[in-house]
Amino acid sequence: MNAQLDGVDEPADRKREERREFHSYVCGIGLALLLTVVPFALVHWFPAIPRFSLLILIGAFALVQMLVHFRFFLHIGFKQKREDLQLLLFSGLLLTIMVGGTIWIMASLALRMAMPGQP
């Protein structure tokens, strides 16, 4: 293997890639911290916000933070192989069906069996 012929192996390119990937981690930790601190602050210091709105809000923050982690820490982008992307999307679909379905069914049962929700 002649490393010089292989464009990727040239030291300058490698350096650039390394810097880019380092920045990706820094960016990731920065965003993650922001997305963590805000919901904690909301829950801790703003109890006046109606509970339902608050739940929606922190749920949205969590979803965005998960995407940030997938993007910057796990390096999931649009350059994946087809099977890799399929795997992730299929898992997401099943997780939605299974968790969503469970909550739907059990909530209906709780309602009809007079097992009231949290006061």
Partner: protein
């Protein structure tokens, strides 16, 4: 003496003389205790004597060393596949005997019968647990293990040692169920073990614990197997083997693997939560302190429904291969079969609620899941038509696998129809928990899964062992299975509509009796079918020299697993084949590129043998046994040993060995010489001794 009888103390946990099957009979010799004690002791003796006979035979024929080095430490996917199937056949025998016993009890069950309710409950619980987890699952895992890597032109699965570990865990689970015959009692809570009945309050004995840990071992094994198969199919295909060129069996193997990966976790959650309830006083499913047993039903069927498709999809794959091969035609509607398989795999995750329509959720939810359940009928129907159209204008040869396949098509359609009925919540409310349901799921499970696996066994046996099975006894056995099935289960449809609840040890209505007797006779025919199968194996081994098919293609096969010798070399292919299209081996035969002598050979890297599977099997069994009997020192020791063995394995390097190019060349040339010396046989003679595994070329559907 009495202390020993009551409790084993800290060293033996709950283990005591009470745990022996004949203890009750000796202490309280009532008539019922004596009959049930004799049956239980007889079963336990069979297990013990069977084990002793195996040990004696191994010793007599000095087979311990080959057993160790060629089998239990082997990482060869073919050996592992065969061992899975051996487990499946042993467990099939036990569970079928149990089924006959249950039918006998119900035949005489008007106001009584000979089995105690407790004993009967153990029988249906073990029957179901074994048939699903230790018969069907090992059987299909074994068949996929054997066939799939060769169909895609690979040397082995992606993770051979993990494969061996999966086998070990399955074997440990099966052993645990077998040990429950000898020591203690198995669960009486059915194969799905619903709490709160299986909670410590109502079932304080070891039964549910046996069930929990046997399932945990089997479930873990299946998850790992699923990962292994999926990665193998995605990453180990031979060059040119695009996804849409894969044989249909490999497609179904892929979908089953994906279902295993995603459907096993809910089972793990359900059983581990039940274990936490029983062992540590948690309240997931208890009646008291905020438990909710309906959660268990939901979790269990989140696993349970995909599970039935885990079972049936590989069988569909087998039928696809067999029907195409024995009709001498390419599979009709390949693309639609692939699409149907994928559709079934995804839909199978959207229908779990139909197992508990009557639990009390609102009608909209029932409607949604009812409609989703009926939708599965569409892709399944597509498949049935594809198979029939594959046979259409083909020259169909009625060999044993084909007899099973045609029996399957006829019977499975009926089972599917009764399934569509049950998918309608309003009908389900009428017949749920009756034997109508028992008839339905046996009608899809027996002709679907069991026939499928037996078809696979007959179809690929010559490949695995190098000689054909006896055809005459094969057909006798197949017909016994088909007619025995009809006799045993068609009456249950009627009985279910007449109102006979499932799992009843005795009943009070005389009008059930005639149909119960028909069902019992059907069950006897099923037992005859099993005996015929074993007899066939015996005489086939006896006559093996006359039926050799070393050249390796006895049925004029279409996919790559037929393109090597029978049995194949441990590395499968001397040179990895390059694939040009679907039905790769048929294409090669047509282009006259099959059976070539390559110019150069390369060294082949294979995984070394590993004792890891055996170690994990032993430790897994010890861990589970300790947990069942509350022998805490054993639990801790086994757990630590499992962790230690995994760490040590992490430090292992040098895990591969080389087969030299000369050796590959020698073995390959020996086979090619045999091919050259062989006379090609026409399809008319494929079941005669002239068939040495070289097929005469035939155009599509035409026999020369």
């Amino acid at each position: 003496m009495s202390i020993v009888a009551d409790s084993g103390g800290p060293f033996l946990g709950r283990l005591s003389l009470h745990s022996l099957p004949f203890w009750d009979m000796l202490q309280h010799p009532t008539m019922s205790n004596i009959i049930n004690g004799i049956i239980a002791t007889g079963a336990a003796s069979l297990v013990v004597i069977g084990a002793l006979v195996v040990i004696a035979l191994l010793t007599k024929y000095k087979l311990w060393r080959p057993l160790w080095s060629d089998w239990v430490t082997s990482t060869d996917h073919k050996k592992i596949g065969i061992m899975y199937i051996v487990i499946a056949l042993v467990m099939l025998t036990r569970a079928l005997i149990e089924a006959v016993l249950m039918r006998a009890q119900q035949a005489v069950g008007l106001h009584g019968g000979f089995l105690s309710p407790d004993h009967f409950a153990q029988l249906f619980s073990t029957h179901g647990t074994i048939m699903i987890f230790f018969m069907a699952m090992p059987f299909l895992t074994g068949v996929i293990n054997y066939v799939m890597p060769m169909q895609i032109g690979a040397r082995d699965v992606s993770f051979p040692v993990l494969n061996s570990i999966s086998l070990g865990l399955t074997a440990a689970g099966a052993a645990l169920v077998m040990v429950s015959l000898v020591i203690g009692k198995f669960s009486t809570g059915g194969w799905f073990g619903y709490p709160p009945y299986t909670e410590a309050t109502f079932s304080p004995g070891v039964g549910p614990d046996y069930w929990i840990w046997a399932l945990s071992l089997a479930g873990l094994a299946s998850t790992l197997t699923g990962i292994n198969f999926a990665v193998t199919i995605y990453k180990e295909r031979a060059p040119g083997m695009k996804l849409m060129r894969m044989p249909l069996f490999t497609w179904t193997a892929l979908c089953t693997a994906i279902l295993m990966i995603f459907a096993m976790p809910p089972l793990t959650v359900a059983t581990s939560q039940l274990a936490l309830d029983r062992y540590l006083g948690f309240h997931y499913f208890t009646n008291a302190l905020g438990g909710n047993m309906m959660n268990f039903a939901n979790l269990f069927w989140l696993f349970g429904h995909p599970e039935v498709y885990i079972l049936i999809l590989p069988a569909f794959g087998v039928y696809s291969e067999v029907i195409a091969t024995f009709s001498g035609k390419a599979l009709f509607g390949y693309r639609s079969l692939v699409m149907a398989t994928m559709a079934i795999a995804i839909l199978s995750f959207t229908v779990w609620l139909h197992h508990f329509f009557t639990m009390g959720q609102n009608a909209n939810i029932n409607a949604v899941f009812g409609i989703a359940s009926m939708l599965i009928g569409i892709p399944t129907g597509v498949k049935i038509y594809d198979w029939m159209l594959t046979m259409f204008r083909g020259r169909v040869r009625f060999t044993t696998p084909m007899v099973y396949s045609i029996g399957f098509i006829l019977l499975f359609v009926l089972g599917g129809m009764s399934g569509i009925l049950l998918a309608n919540p309003t009908i389900d409310y009428q017949v749920h928990n009756t034997v109508f349901l028992v008839a339905h799921f046996h009608n899809v499970a027996v002709p679907g899964v069991l026939f499928g696996m037996l078809t696979a066994y007959h179809f690929w046996f010559p490949k695995a062992f190098g000689f054909r099975l006896n055809e005459r006894w094969g057909i006798i056995s197949a017909l016994c299975w088909i007619f025995g099935f009809m006799g045993a289960f068609f009456p249950l449809y009627a009985l279910g509509i007449m109102g006979l609840p499932r799992r009843t040890v005795a009943y009070a209505q005389a009008r059930y009796v005639p149909l119960e007797w028909v069902a019992f006779l059907g069950a006897l025919l099923l037992l005859a079918a099993l005996l015929a199968l074993l007899w066939q194996l015996w005489i086939s081994i006896r006559d093996r020299d006359a039926n050799r098919v070393f050249v390796g293609d006895p049925w004029d096969g279409r996919s790559l697993e037929w393109s090597n010798s029978a049995p194949p070399p441990e590395y499968n292919f001397a040179v990895i084949p390059s694939v040009q299209g679907r039905d790769a081996f048929t294409m090669a035969k047509e282009n006259h590129s099959a059976y070539e002598r390559p110019d150069t050979y390369k060294d082949i890297e294979l995984p070394k043998n590993s004792a890891m599977g055996l170690v994990i099997a032993a430790l897994g069994f010890a861990l589970a046994f300790g947990l069942v009997w509350h022998i805490w020192w054993l639990v801790i020791a086994a757990l630590l040993a499992v962790i230690a063995s995994m760490i040590v394995r992490g430090f292992a390097r040098d895990t591969t060995r080389l087969v030299s190019a000369q050796e590959v060349r020698r073995e390959h040339h020996r086979w090619i010489d045999a091919v050259a010396a062989a006379t090609a046989v026409s399809r008319a003679n494929e079941c005669k001794t002239v068939n040495v595994g070289l097929a005469q070329h035939q155009a599509n559907g035409v026999v020369p």
